[in-house]
């Protein structure tokens, strides 16, 4: 497994050269700041924006700290965050295919599996760092503005949410190995992910098979401390899909990129 560590080092170098190590966490930190601030200052913001017409009364709901963290995940991380993850990851395999780096790596005795695993671990680590820092900032702001949320709940919710993030990364990786243009990768992955997310709103029985449903589990863990029923099924299906996607991209690339021997 010596090749893998070299490939991981290369991933690290690439990520720091493209400033991904900088802007990924910063975007998620922005997202983590925005939600607590905007929900805390909503009355003042409404007033600043010209106020409501006379005679209109809105009863703003009483928001708890857990609600704020939950909506950070559902409103910010799962929308802009999802977009950022896909767009940031769209060219990881495609650019290597285009500039011949993939062929070059494969001539150096590294196997395709090691290459894909290196890519996957590298990107997954970046996303993990970004999501964790974003959530940390959101937690700090909510505990300052609202009240303290038990750290164990945040960590547990984050872990569940991260599994869904892993799904996004793996899907983008798969699309990267199937398609040859990074814009196509972004469009297809976004379409699939947003479709899955919209499907969670339907809320019927097949949700337990839907990876996007993990967000709801994560939110439920943060708010009440326990997951929705059938959590294990959803998690298992997601992990299985991740493995299947990795195998599928390995299968496709090995047929496509390696000369038949």
């Amino acid at each position: 497994m010596n090749h893998l560590s070299v490939l991981l080092k290369k991933e690290w170098l690439e990520a720091s050269r493209s400033y991904k190590l900088l802007w990924f966490p910063v975007v998620f930190m922005f997202l983590g700041i925005i939600q607590p601030l905007s929900s805390y200052y909503l009355p003042q913001i409404l007033e600043l924006a010209g106020g409501l017409p006379e005679g209109v009364n809105i009863a703003l709901p009483q928001i708890t700290a857990e609600d704020v963290l939950a909506s950070t995940v559902t409103n910010q991380f799962d929308q802009l965050g999802l977009l950022v993850i896909v767009i940031g990851m769209m060219s990881i395999v495609v650019s290597d295919k285009d500039n011949g780096m993939l062929t070059f790596i494969l001539t150096r005795n590294a196997s395709l599996g090691e290459y894909l695993l290196g890519k996957w671990i590298g990107q997954a680590a970046i996303v993990a760092g970004a999501v964790a820092t974003g959530m940390l900032i959101a937690g700090l702001y909510t505990s300052y503005l609202y009240s303290f949320v038990p750290l164990s709940r945040i960590v547990a919710g984050l872990g569940v949410y991260y599994t869904w993030c892993l799904f996004m990364v793996t899907l983008t990786l798969l699309m990267g190995s199937l398609l040859s243009r990074s814009s196509g990768v972004a469009v297809v992955s976004l379409f699939v992910l947003i479709f899955l997310k919209v499907a969670t709103a339907l809320g019927s029985g097949f949700q337990i098979m839907n990876p996007a449903h993990l967000t709801n589990h994560a939110v439920h863990i943060m708010i009440s401390g326990s997951a929705l029923p059938h959590f294990m099924t959803t998690a298992a299906v997601t992990l299985l899909l991740i493995v299947v996607f990795l195998i599928l991209s390995h299968f496709y690339l090995s047929r496509k990129e390696l000369p038949a021997s």
């Binding site: 400033y19 900088l22 700041i33 600043l48 010209g50």
Partner: protein
């Protein structure tokens, strides 16, 4: 009738400690993006356009540069 925004100075003071991390993060992104743009060998037009985007598109300007601007070299 009053149009537009009005923020009192004292109100701004109250918000400032919470906004400072936001501003610092934005500043870091801005400086890194601009430094990278200026260090690279590019045509003047390209530089001007991206400088404008980085500085004036708030929050997402530098990020747009990192995603799109660094690709075609």
């Amino acid at each position: 009738m009053h149009y537009g925004y009005s923020i009192g100075i004292e109100e701004l003071w109250k918000w400032l400690p919470l906004l400072i991390p936001f501003l610092i993060l934005h500043l870091i992104l801005l400086v890194v993006a601009l430094r990278d743009l200026l260090r690279r060998d590019l045509s003047t037009e390209y530089r001007l356009i991206w400088t404008a985007i980085i500085v004036f598109v708030s929050l997402f300007g530098p990020i747009l540069y990192f995603i799109l601007g660094r690709k075609d070299r």
